[in-house]
């Protein structure tokens, strides 16, 4: 008896008892669906974290005051422009930009007369290469802007749309108004970059602040503050970033005559650490979901045992007319496989749907990975075989005489 014929006759048997089939598959469906849903949510949040890091620029290092320093902090410990100039001299630094940022300013949306909060970052020329944004129009901040404290800003395409109602070449050179406690000041738009997070921000409408970049010196004047938020740098050799980080910290300690007050961390390390956390959590919950798969498998085995008993006579007849033990074995394994594979496929579909709904509720994009689907499929087939073998073997070893006598 060939496999194809076995499959079609197994389908007939499985569907002869629809209610029982559905109930049996339910265990597998729930198990697979939860694994898929959990893994796609986990996957989605991982992707989201990655894209946030991507925006920060992977591979760069951030020098800042340690928030968890065991020492007392003094205002003299704050990073200064001079620190930046000193670190710039350290060998192995490829790109470096001091940054100063603040969230307490608002931008006037000229056309609509509305204002929106903004996230203003003061930088130097190197920042362009560190972040490598996609420059759509105009130019980025130049060294001369920093020297001359130029009143120029780089805005994102989404800000441009909100402020001017359009985003094209003609925005370059136009004025944008930034409001502080000292009153409004006008800045000229010198460049427009692509907002990499536009899609995520859309979901939250206007809650996201406008990202605005300006020369660091202009920002210092606007904020009325000299101290830096942090210093961002990129190592010449990423493999030696750890070594560089040590040298940067010791140089800072030297300048400030302090210890354990500064940190210099690579974003790649942070990303890896974050990914490890989400990965572990996802794996843990998936493992719990796998338990329901095992329970589902036992359900399949149970029902297969019942089926074998119910069909003892059929097995006897089949054997009498020439079915070999392996024919009977194959028949019942295929029936178990149909139950689990079909359950697995339904579980995948439900899992994707549940993932979407849960993702929507949690505000996380659910990303279904092909790997998870393939693994779910393989697991459900595996369960079919593991939990189908015992009942199938029992069926195949039935004595035909006894089986024929069975009422």
């Amino acid at each position: 008896m060939n496999v194809l014929e076995n499959v079609s006759s197994a389908f007939r048997n499985v569907f002869a008892n629809k209610m029982r089939t559905i109930l049996t598959m339910l265990g597998i469906i729930i198990g697979i669906a939860s694994v898929i849903a959990i893994s796609s949510i986990g996957n989605g949040s991982q992707k989201e974290i990655e894209s946030q890091f991507d925006e920060l620029g992977v591979g760069r290092m951030i020098v800042q005051l340690r928030s968890n320093s065991p020492r007392n902090m003094f205002s003299s410990d704050a990073l200064s422009y001079e620190d930046y100039e000193e670190i710039k001299k350290i060998e192995g630094v490829k790109l470096i930009s001091p940054t100063i940022s603040s969230n307490f300013f608002s931008v006037k949306l000229l056309e609509k007369g509305e204002t929106n909060s903004s996230n203003i970052t003061g930088v130097t020329e190197d920042y362009y290469e560190i972040m490598s944004p996609n420059l759509l129009y105009g130019r980025y901040i130049k060294e001369s802007d920093v020297e001359e404290k130029s009143k120029v800003v780089v805005i994102t395409d989404t800000t441009s749309l909100k402020v001017f109602g359009y985003c094209n070449e003609s925005v370059i050179g136009q004025k944008i108004s930034i409001k502080s406690w000292k009153g409004s000041k006008n800045y000229f738009v010198c460049g427009i970059v692509e907002n990499k997070n536009a899609e995520t921000e859309m979901q939250y409408e206007n809650e996201y602040p406008e990202n605005i970049i300006m020369p660091i010196t202009s920002a210092q004047r606007l904020f009325g503050q000299k101290t830096l938020t942090n210093i961002t740098l990129v190592a010449e050799d990423p493999d030696k970033s750890e070594n560089l980080s040590e040298r940067v910290i010791s140089r800072l300690d030297e300048i400030h005559q302090s210890s354990e007050k500064y940190s210099c961390e690579s974003t790649t390390e942070q990303l890896e650490a974050m990914n490890e956390v989400t990965g572990t959590v996802t794996l843990l919950i998936s493992a719990v979901a796998c338990i329901s798969l095992i329970v589902g498998g036992i359900g399949v085995m149970n029902i297969m045992m019942v089926t074998v008993t119910e069909r003892t006579r059929e097995i006897g007849i089949r054997k009498a007319i020439g079915a070999r033990n392996k024919d009977i074995m194959l028949q019942f394994i295929i029936e178990a496989l149909i139950l689990t594979i079909l359950g697995g496929l339904l579980g995948i579909v439900f899992g994707i749907l549940i993932g979407q709904v849960a993702g929507y509720i949690l505000g996380v994009k659910s990303v279904v990975s092909l790997n998870a689907v393939l693994i779910a499929f393989i697991i459900s087939s595996f369960i079919g075989i593991v939990f189908g073998v015992y009942p199938a073997r029992r069926a195949s070893l039935l004595d035909p005489i006894e089986a024929l006598r069975y009422e």
Binding site: M1, R313, I317, A320, I321, G322, A323, P400, L404
Partner: protein, 224 residues
């Protein structure tokens, strides 16, 4: 020797039976006489604890258990008292089943199954399920199934036991016609009037063969 519970019972002993090709033999005996055991051994469902069984030149006592299914498939056709058709399959699918296990291709299978059903006069009901057929019709499906792999022998275990007298005659008629065409048949029955339609009657009692004689004047079911 036959094991029943913890007690070992000699179901058959010292039985010597020789069935020639094209014979139509009935085996008679009351319950417990050993005739069912005899049928199980003849049908390769069971093996004798000692002694020899040669079927069509093959020494069955030397065939491995796992190869017995092939012997049953190719050399033996079973007809049971309770028909033993698969309820979910149509008449023709039931007849096709032995060929499925023999590995006959689908097209050829259908054709041979149809031929077999025509032979038993059931060509109009090939797509009916067993529960849509009368007892006599079910038994005819079973006979078609037994025939379809062209076995060396047909073993019928009380084939008319569940049938009314009219159907009984019809089934006997089919057996006789098949026998006229050269099919060897061994039939277990406890009804002596049914046995009178066969060519030879073997009687068992308490595991022993007590009588073996040719029927002097075989009755013809077709005459009634």
């Amino acid at each position: 020797m036959y094991r029943q519970g913890s007690l070992e019972v000699n179901a058959l002993s010292g039985v010597d039976l020789w069935v020639k090709p094209k014979e139509f033999v009935s085996i008679m005996g009351s319950s417990g006489s050993g005739k069912s055991t005899m049928m199980n051994i003849l049908g390769c469902l069971d093996k004798a604890s000692s002694g020899k069984y040669i079927l069509d030149g093959i020494d069955i006592s030397k065939v491995k258990d796992k190869d017995l299914s092939e012997i049953r498939n190719k050399k033996i056709g079973f007809v049971f008292q309770s028909f033993n058709l698969l309820p979910k399959l149509s008449a023709i699918e039931n007849v096709e089943l032995p060929m499925v296990y023999a590995g006959v291709e689908a097209k050829k299978r259908r054709q041979r199954a149809e031929e077999a059903l025509i032979k038993v006069g059931l060509e109009k009901r090939i797509n009916h399920r067993p529960n849509e057929l009368s007892g006599g019709q079910r038994q005819r499906v079973a006979i078609a199934r037994a025939l379809v792999n062209k076995p060396s022998i047909i073993l019928a275990d009380e084939p008319t036991g569940n049938l009314d007298s009219k159907s009984t005659i019809e089934i006997i008629d089919i057996f006789q016609k098949l026998n006229d065409d050269g099919v060897t048949i061994v039939m277990v029955t406890h009804e002596s009037d049914v046995a009178m339609y066969t060519k030879r009657i073997v009687t068992f009692k308490d595991g022993l063969k007590i009588d073996d004689r040719l029927v002097e004047k075989q009755m013809k079911a077709g005459d009634i």
